[in-house]
């Protein structure tokens, strides 16, 4: 059997007296489209940021393709084949759409130390291909900061794909979108991940999005892993229903 892409063993993270993550164990196989869900404050973001090297874990190990990557700084993880996107859209706002992807390609390949060759001549072709893949072929010359929110999300996806990652971490990829945009956007990611054979781990709070694409779901609750399995199994889990439905009812009451 092939090595799991991602193994998380006993991951814990504490902020002062608050235990945000407690002994989380997780395994993601190649080609999975894994959703991490949980009510607000369940530790999704902490889990995600610890996984991607943004925060240092207090205990536990993270293995990528069998290699221990615990505590590696972001740039090293990224060069190793893990790409991530941010909950709050994060592009290089002052640069053009094409330059955004070019600088990403240069970064992944460790070519940002070249001090002489003009950068605009570098990897233009590949950058255009990536932009075409995410549907931004018509916007190459636009300043990235002036793109619509949805298009910035697409650009961020192109930036993430620029390094040929094997594992893609998406932090709330549909945050701030309308319901229709959300499904469109996650289907785009799902299609591209399928085409490229990527493994994807994403956090998401919109259940419609989760159940539309996730191959597996892990449920976090109060910093612990509550349940895990296929969407059907998770949906049928009474514990999850209790935690989640309670939350959903409260949320829907707040909205009205």
């Amino acid at each position: 059997m092939a090595e799991p892409v991602l193994q998380v063993r006993g991951l814990s993270k504490q902020f002062g007296g608050l235990l945000a993550l407690c002994d989380v164990n997780l395994q993601v196989e190649r080609g999975e489209f894994r959703a991490i869900i949980g009510p607000n404050g369940a530790g999704k973001s902490t889990f995600f940021n610890t996984l991607s090297g943004w925060l240092k874990a207090n205990a536990g190990r993270v293995l990528f393709e069998g290699r221990d990557i615990t505590g590696h700084p972001p740039h090293r993880l990224t060069r190793g084949g893990i790409a991530r996107t941010f909950q709050i859209t994060s592009v290089f706002a002052g640069m053009s759409v094409l330059e955004n992807v070019q600088v990403a390609i240069l970064g992944y390949r460790g070519q940002t130390w070249r001090p002489w060759t003009p950068a605009r001549t570098q990897h233009g072709e590949l950058a255009r291909e990536l932009l075409e893949r995410v549907g931004l072929a018509g916007e190459v010359g636009r300043q990235a900061g002036t793109l619509s929110h949805g298009d910035q999300k697409r650009l961020e996806l192109a930036i993430a794909l620029a390094g040929n990652p094997r594992l893609l971490l998406l932090d709330e990829p549909t945050a701030g979108m309308t319901a229709r945009e959300r499904l469109e956007s996650i289907h785009l990611v799902h299609r591209i991940a399928g085409e490229l054979g990527l493994t994807v781990v994403f956090t998401e709070h919109d259940m419609a999005v989760v159940f539309a694409v996730a191959s597996h779901i892990s449920v976090l609750h109060q910093g612990r892993l509550l349940a895990e399995g296929t969407p059907e199994a998770v949906r049928a889990n009474p514990e999850v229903q209790q935690v989640y439905l309670g939350e959903a009812v409260i949320e829907s009451e707040q909205r009205t």
Partner: protein, 308 residues
């Protein structure tokens, strides 16, 4: 269009010394040295988003390095001069290593503190630096002793150095720097070690500031501790802002205007810093993008009336 203008300016610079008196040739050399100084500073501020409040450290170290290596260590002038930017780079590695961990005001304060440390050394280590009196007698002998020849020497070096910085800004390194300025978190997640990139930028800027300091020291014939004082770190900030930090050659314009204003106004009144301050204040208030924003402003005005 822009490169045509730069070419024209270079052509004018080539003919300049034949039209000027010796006094003004020295002023022109000062402009060249400070233009390089201001451009090196703006590599940090305008392109890297790092406001250093201690850039004079490297200008001063470059100046002291050429003076000490030549006059005290017995190296030839040429060798001492060539070593000056390297010494400045070495100092920048140390200061940078300890400073680029922090950003914003903390980075500014750290660079400020290190520069004041060097200032104190220049004042107190009299056996090495000449203390209060500085080091004098640095006028080059031989061919470079001729002001016109030295002018061309300075022109060649500062133009070449500014061209190198220009290439750097447009290179993959410069793209990453631009990305870093806007979004360091994102840049880490495309695989760039942001701290090392900041440090490298800091060292390059330091080396070129050191070259500028050495150029100026040999032109003025001396070096004094106040070149390392904090007021000396304000000079490139004012020059860069005056000329425009978002334009590559803005700081060159800023340096020229600053030096010329200083010469003209200080010849007229002993209160010249006051007058100078007011003039700079007015310019910055009227032209938030600096003098290099003036061209754009005029062009827009012109186009506006042309369309209407």
């Amino acid at each position: 269009m822009k490169s045509a203008l730069a070419g024209l300016a270079l052509l004018a610079a080539l003919g300049l010394p034949f039209a000027l008196s010796e006094f003004w040739i020295f002023i022109a050399i000062e402009v060249l040295a400070f233009a390089l100084y201001a451009v090196s500073f703006n590599l940090l501020l305008g392109f890297g988003g790092m406001l250093s409040f201690g850039h004079a450290a490297f200008f001063g170290v470059g100046a002291y390095a050429v003076a000490i290596l030549w006059k005290k260590a017995g190296l030839t002038m040429v060798l001492a001069f060539a070593a000056a930017p390297l010494v400045a780079a070495l100092v920048a590695i140390v200061i940078g290593y300890l400073s680029v961990k922090r950003i914003g005001i903390y980075f500014a304060m750290l660079t400020f503190a290190f520069q004041m440390l060097l200032y104190t050394i220049a004042l107190k280590a009299g056996w090495l630096t000449g203390g209060d009196d500085g080091i004098t007698g640095l006028k080059p002998a031989g061919l470079l002793g001729d002001p016109v020849a030295y002018y061309f020497f300075a022109l060649l070096l500062s133009a070449a150095a500014i061209y190198l910085i220009h290439r750097l800004v447009r290179s993959p390194f410069g793209y990453a720097l631009q990305a870093l300025k806007g979004n360091p978190a994102r840049l880490q997640y495309v695989g760039v070690d942001v701290r090392r990139h900041r440090l490298a930028t800091f060292v390059v800027a330091g080396a070129f500031a050191g070259l500028a300091g050495a150029l100026f020291a040999l032109s003025s014939g001396n070096v004094f501790p106040n070149w390392l004082n904090w007021t000396a770190s304000a000079t490139p900030i004012v020059m860069a802002v005056l000329g425009g930090i978002h334009s590559f050659l803005g700081p060159v314009v800023g340096a020229a205007v600053y030096v010329l204003l200083e010469v003209v106004i200080s010849g007229k009144t002993e209160y010249w810093p006051l007058v100078m301050g007011c003039v700079i204040l007015l310019l910055v208030l009227a032209l938030p993008d600096g003098l290099s924003g003036l061209g754009q402003l005029l062009r827009r005005q012109f186009r506006g009336t042309g369309n209407g």
